[in-house]
Symmetry: C2
Subunit: 519 residues, 2 copies
């Protein structure tokens, strides 16, 4: 494997992935994911878009300060203010990268930017130069490159490299490319840009037609040296190239691609689960590599062929991507050290304080539930890192409900020293009765946009994990709660979302869609 060409994995889960509607993350969540990406062996972490909002800036700044082992990248539009702000956030990183982008396709030039080709090149050059004044590692992206005229694309890329870009990234911003088309774009750059050897060619694909992975692989076949991707393929619309798929395609078909990455593939499933839990973006069962069914043959029938020779039906082993056979680990008598061990194996980096909180929750759970699985431990930890400064917390609840009558709920919430109790008979079921009581007490009126419960593990005593999405004044907020009691988990999730309304920090800028005056 050492003789294969090494392709750089650039993960943009924290930037492009976070642009998935409803997937925004808080600071501690972003830090946890960044650490997990380092453990996974990601080469470059795009940590955010610093000028977009104070929250985005702070996340990039803290990741740059704390996270070690990967290059940390920040996004900037092609103007001085954006670039300066990106550098401000990144400067503490041992290996910082500034990523500057500017749209180049005719349709973007005409309708969005209202700039001529000459103005675009001039702007690109001055942006790259300014960034190169701050650090050596500069990435330039001609946005919508896949739809840009080849001659003009070559001219922009040549100028950006001359100005100091060390990576040129080719985005298929709207997910329009085919593998053959994408391969041709990369070959054109290699054939016609005289200084192309001075930069790494990168590829950034969207999955609108289901082709993001194939397009990325085609670019690698044609000479691209970096792939931009996200965990679980999350991202705007149908998302980005899925990291786990593109990495396992390169690994499994190394014979064909003659390329590999430094990804620790057995970290793929834990990282996928972490991102899914944190963002609320569930992974479908038939998702390649990390879906629950990815290695499952139809139950019961099992594999006459498999028993004779596993390669008849299996090209990868589940353990290669981090599915573990048995994950029953802890029980009532397990101590703090055992829990700390398990958390570490699951890929978490807990502070002493976090471990203490999780251990307390663990003991409460062990009283209710005999067998505590890895997924239970992960759910407890995710809840801890997911938690936000709590305005309101759940003190107690009681519900009485059934066929032929409205539910009655008695609910107590705490805020600081104050406990408020509300009693109501309303709603169609216990969950909406509780939501109504919470709204009454907190005074926050919302529309419930999404409500999902899923069992964390198996058995009737399994913990239920509840995800809610609420809308308040045109803005979406997520909340998450777990408990062995799904009604209690629902109350916690709803409160978690309500608490987020309180700490809302202003709407962030969107890198592509935000107003472009002055860019």
């Amino acid at each position: 494997m050492t003789n294969k060409r090494r392709v750089i994995i650039f993960d943009t889960t924290l930037r492009d992935g976070e642009q998935s509607p409803g997937a925004s993350m808080n600071l501690s969540e972003k830090l946890e994911i960044a650490q997990a990406l380092v453990d996974l062996g990601v080469d470059v972490i795009e940590a955010g878009f610093p000028i977009a909002s104070p929250g985005d800036f702070e996340a990039v700044r803290q990741i740059a300060q704390v996270v070690r082992g990967s290059t940390i990248c920040g996004l900037a539009r092609c103007n001085d203010k954006d670039i300066d702000r990106a550098w401000e956030a990144l400067k503490a990183a041992p290996a910082p990268r500034i990523h500057v982008f500017l749209a180049t396709s005719a349709i973007h030039r005409e309708f969005k930017l209202k700039m001529t080709k000459e103005e675009i090149i001039e702007r690109a050059v001055s942006g790259v130069k300014r960034a190169a004044g701050y650090c050596d590692d500069i990435e330039f992206s001609p946005e919508d490159a896949a739809r840009t005229e080849p001659d003009f694309l070559c001219a922009v890329v040549e100028a950006a490299i001359n100005a100091g870009a060390t990576t040129v990234n080719i985005p298929d911003t709207v997910g329009y490319a085919t593998p053959a088309h994408m391969g041709k774009v990369i070959r054109t750059l290699r054939d016609r840009v005289p200084n192309i050897d001075k930069a790494v060619i990168s590829i950034h694909c969207h999955n609108d037609l289901g082709l993001a992975v194939a397009n990325s692989l085609s670019a690698v076949e044609s000479g691209a040296g970096q792939i931009e991707c996200t965990i679980n393929g999350i991202g705007e619309r149908a998302g980005n190239c899925s990291l786990e798929e593109v990495v396992m395609a390169l690994r499994t078909r190394g014979d064909f691609y003659d390329a590999d990455t430094r990804i620790q593939t057995e970290r793929l499933v834990p990282t996928s689960r972490l991102v899914s839990n944190v963002t609320g973006m569930l992974v479908q069962r038939n998702k390649a590599i990390v879906g629950r069914n990815a290695f499952a043959h139809e139950a019961g029938i099992h594999q006459d062929g498999m028993l004779k020779e596993r390669t008849t039906y299996e090209i990868m082993r589940p353990e290669d991507v981090g599915f573990t056979q048995t994950d029953l680990v802890l029980g009532k008598h397990s101590g703090r050290a055992a829990l700390a061990d398990r958390a570490k194996a699951l890929g978490y980096h807990l502070t002493g304080e976090q471990l203490q909180t999780v251990f307390e929750q663990f003991k409460l759970l062990a009283d209710k539930k005999k067998e505590i699985y890895d997924a239970d431990v992960a759910a407890l930890i995710d809840q801890e890192i997911h938690d936000i400064a709590e305005q309101w917390s759940l003190e107690s609840y009681h519900v009485s409900c059934g066929t032929g009558g409205k539910p009655t709920v008695k609910l107590s919430l705490r805020r600081g020293d104050q406990a408020i109790t509300q009693e109501l008979t309303c709603g169609d079921g216990p969950v909406d009765a509780i939501f109504l009581a919470i709204e009454k007490i907190t005074g926050v009126e919302v529309v419930c946009r999404d409500f999902r419960v899923q069992a964390v593990t198996v058995g009737k005593d399994a913990q239920g994990e509840v995800n809610v999405e609420i809308e308040h004044q045109g803005q979406l907020y997520r909340g998450r709660g777990i408990s062995t009691d799904s009604v209690e988990a629902s109350a916690k999730a709803f409160l978690n979302a309500i608490n987020r309304v309180a700490i809302r920090k202003g709407k962030p800028l969107h890198p592509q869609h935000s107003a472009v005056d002055g860019v």
Copy 2:
């Protein structure tokens, strides 16, 4: 568009899709999906594997009798008994197709079949000939073709066509191919099989590396004339080529592929939703084409570029694939005709009796819920077609629960004339208390493998849809229930699954993994 080459769409949702662990369907569900596939414009419907089980046989037979407008296909291993049974099921169809398969790769020959190359060819020829004695439309699949030696693959294909195969299908059974590899296999067949023009070349890809759609498109580029695929890409392991993605890639990039299908693309979203509801295989938000986010830009920020010119960020319109803008349709005062209209627009084919049941449910719902959306109507209808002969039904329930104590549940179930009530104080939350009470009454002991709740629409009065998966004596059973009260929906779903245990009809054969003695 009329000058483009027309590619045949062969849907195997009812056969390969049903092999997804946990996705098995009953007869009325299969009929409903088959009708929806006709409306969608699918050319060939693979309705099942008749010899696998009496249930499979009956489904293929009824679809062949009732469904009009598509070719109906049945699968058979390459032996007389399978082929005879397939024809028995198919013979009432105006356009029947028998699909015969036999593994050809070295690894399958050696470990699974223990047959020589000569024996394989002999078996293939005799199977195709027997099938061709029944009807004119014969498909032959050399299983694991993508890993079969090219010379031998060409020899098998030539012999099968000579024996009467009108379609030769190239399966990538283990999802190992790359687009370049798959294109090469198809070109090799076209270049080297002398009688290849007498048959349609078909492609059948699995998605283990995330490449099923790209591999299928590559085969079409190289001359394949039929694509085998499933709705939502369901199927064993990571599933099959996703119909909606491959169709929209051909439609959107018709300039490049110079090919099209006769799919009514505005039926894609309703069909996707139907299959997801019936199989319990949820579609992730960032799934291409039919995912909830597929056309969504990040909330709030919305599209400075989009407003200026939609093609800056959109290559397809949501309405092209069947996303509807506003779907608020019915309320308390809507009559039966309005409901029937809506059901038709949503793609359902209800009998008078079914419409009556759904209308009664609709009236009950309208009492609880002011605004009834398309998704609510669909959920009511899905419940009706999903329903099975009820052993046990829910009579009434009452639960009292809260922090600091075990829930108390009083539950009454009915079977025939008999009503049984159980009162229990147990469990951690209302849902597991109810599950325990149901087990007590019915005497069926199970392990709960999966439990999920999701809101059907928005708002606190939204209906909750519950999916459960239970294991009983090594076999998995699904259940589904809806109600505006999520606890009641959970009870219904659990009972639905328990009722399925009672009517279990014996484990079906699996086409690839089943014992092969005598094949």
